[in-house]
Symmetry: C2
Subunit: 144 residues, 2 copies
DNA sequence: TAAATAAAGGACATTTTTGTCCGATTAATG
DNA sequence: CATTAATCGGACAAAAATGTCCTTTATTTA
């Protein structure tokens, strides 16, 4: 469904949000440790998220990554997915046809539209804040 | 969503079914031509489908691939997907966690379950025959 | 201002997926 | 029985995704 990069990206963003709720900035090392991901690869992904203004980075000692409280509401999952995997999840034919639309549909077109509409709705309506608070309360997990 | 191999596999199977409805056996070359896919790669995928008894192959002159009319009803998309991509679409966590279940869910677990249940239902209930007849009537397309 | 700390970014390495090539095998037909 | 047409299967090649290493840059603090 998502690429590995995107999976790490979402997990990292949720973890950053969780810590930002306590006013704590976190380093790549801590993030990778806490979400069980390869450090250097995670660093690359965080750069992408930072460039896309999804998270905020601060260089130097006491630096790290953080997300402002307001942004946790504003940032929806679809923004993270789009920043890392592009929009291929939303666009493009389920069977790989270049031109596939209501006028010239592939055999699976209609059934795919339904599923992707649901997925898209879910991603567009799920905020980082919502995911971070679930973690905070101990209802959900990011590791293993 | 699906791998390229799986996309080609589904398109190929639908095309074979379409031709089998007219009692025609088709060669890899014709299939690749008609679904616009790389020939040799398509041949590999057809071998997989054949080994999994999803399509039937006949060697030698006048040989090729075919699907019996009864099998077109029996073969559902989920069987093709499973034969080529395995069950990673059904199993496994959306965020890539090794252990993610109702007891120890990732932050997206519940929302993912819903979407995947829908996807799974769709694949399990869609037969090759259904897809082939849509093509036959000219409602759908397999190329471009 | 020097040392230390943390992200940024470029180059490289590994693994997986996608794709190609070619000889072996099978079967039909003249 | 030789030829030909087709799949089968193994080895190889190319491209993309995943992952690592190391140098540079920015910033804090002693």
């Amino acid at each position: 469904m998502f690429s590995k990069a995107c999976e790490y990206g979402i997990r990292a963003a949720v973890y950053i949000a969780l810590r930002s709720l306590d006013g704590r900035r976190v380093s790549v090392n801590e993030i990778a440790e806490e979400i069980d991901s390869p450090i250097a690869f995670t660093a690359k992904i965080l750069q992408q998220l930072s460039r896309n203004n999804i998270i905020h980075s601060v260089k130097g000692p006491t630096g790290g990554f953080e997300i402002a409280r307001e942004d946790m509401d504003a940032v929806k999952l679809n923004m993270i997915v789009k920043a890392i995997d592009g929009d291929k999840i939303y666009v493009g034919c389920g069977l790989g046809l270049k031109e596939c639309n209501a006028q010239k549909p592939c055999p699976l077109h209609d059934k795919f539209v339904d599923i992707r509409t649901d997925l898209s709705k879910m991603l567009k309506s799920t905020s980082l804040y919502e995911l971070a608070t679930g973690l905070e309360v101990g209802l959900t997990y990011l590791k293993r």
